[in-house]
């Protein structure tokens, strides 16, 4: 599975790693829901670490889309909310 660490790059990880990621991801969603910034950051860091350690980095010129995207691990609660509302944080791309 190809995973993008936002702000960092894309990695290819195997199913075992993907499974672990999904578990951490569920907890991260709960941390966001509970408004626990510290816990959210810690979980996002662990997710990124899993991908970095166990995944193979894709070449820059690889044009494959990612199946999962991990938000940056230094995301604040406000930024996270803004990002997932889909409104503000990522600027609109002009139609290509």
């Amino acid at each position: 599975m190809i995973v993008r660490l936002m702000g960092e790059g894309q990695y290819d990880v195997d199913d075992e790693v993907a499974k672990g990621l999904n578990e951490l991801d569920e907890q991260a969603a709960q941390a966001l829901e509970a408004g626990d910034e510290e816990q959210l950051g810690e979980l996002l860091r662990r997710m990124a670490e899993q991908v970095r350690t166990n995944g193979a980095r894709l070449a820059d010129e690889d044009l494959s889309p990612s199946e999962a995207i991990v938000p940056p691990d230094d995301l604040s609660l406000d930024e996270a909310r803004e990002l997932f509302e889909g409104e503000g944080l990522i600027p609109d791309l002009p139609t290509v």
Partner: protein, 242 residues
């Protein structure tokens, strides 16, 4: 409740879904798409240049504030020498407040530095992908039927769009950070010029603020004692010499 990874994917994909809708005449779409990518790449480069400029301006401002510390210190010394403890205390209080603000600013500067490094790497990746797209589009035009080309264009455009959204986010965050720092630096500027005792760190609780005030007060007392002692012993020496 959906996980964050799928939600992030959804947000990113929604940003460039229009990219995929356009693929009608493959050859034309490919050339048009590539031109647009080059334009976006230029925007990204300008965005990075803006962040670098803002960061330099902040560093300059920080250096000026460091000089204010030195100035306040010498002002306090002068006041003590003039037997104006009240004025010395004011200057030291201002210095202590300034020091705390500068520490916070310094931390943000380090974060901004890391963001800038990531931003530069992200732009490099985007450039490489755009270049790869240029090569691929010629292959697609030459080798595939219209239907097959549609599929391949879709994949390549998704890969590029994802990277653009990612780089766009990195630029946006770095810009937000410089804006925050700019606001803080301006607030500190005001603190040094007007001496207004305000709490500029928005996320502090009342208790934090009071603890900070106690620490700051005791530092002021300590420094005041130290200065008195230094100046006192200096006067004794003078008396001995006479």
């Amino acid at each position: 409740m959906a996980g964050l990874m799928s939600r992030a994917s959804l947000v990113v994909k929604s940003k460039f879904s229009k990219v995929l809708d356009r693929a009608e005449d493959p050859g034309e779409t490919l050339d048009y798409s590539y031109e647009k990518q080059l334009e976006l790449l230029q925007n990204v480069k300008r965005g990075i240049a803006d962040v670098v400029t803002a960061k330099k301006r902040l560093e300059l401002q920080e250096a000026q504030l460091q000089q204010s510390l030195v100035k306040l210190d010498s002002q306090a010394r002068e006041a003590v020498a003039a037997n104006r403890e009240d004025l010395a205390r004011q200057a030291l209080e201002r210095k202590s407040g300034l020091q705390q603000q500068l520490q916070a600013l310094d931390q943000q500067t380090q974060q901004l530095q890391q963001q800038q490094e990531k931003l530069v790497a992200s732009e490099k990746t985007l450039s490489a992908k755009v270049e790869a797209f240029r090569t691929q589009k010629e292959t697609i035009k030459a080798q595939y039927s219209a239907a097959e080309a549609q599929v391949r264009i879709g994949e390549a455009a998704t890969g590029i769009g994802e990277q653009m959204a990612d780089t766009g986010l990195a630029i946006q965050r770095a810009k937000d950070k410089t804006d925050q720092m700019q606001a803080r630096a301006s607030a500190i500027d005001e603190l040094t010029t007007s001496g207004a005792r305000e709490d500029f760190t928005s996320d502090q609780t009342e208790l934090d603020r009071q603890l900070g005030a106690i620490a700051s007060q005791s530092q002021v007392d300590r420094e005041l004692e130290q200065m008195k002692a230094e100046l006192g012993s200096g006067e004794e020496k003078k008396e001995l010499q006479q």
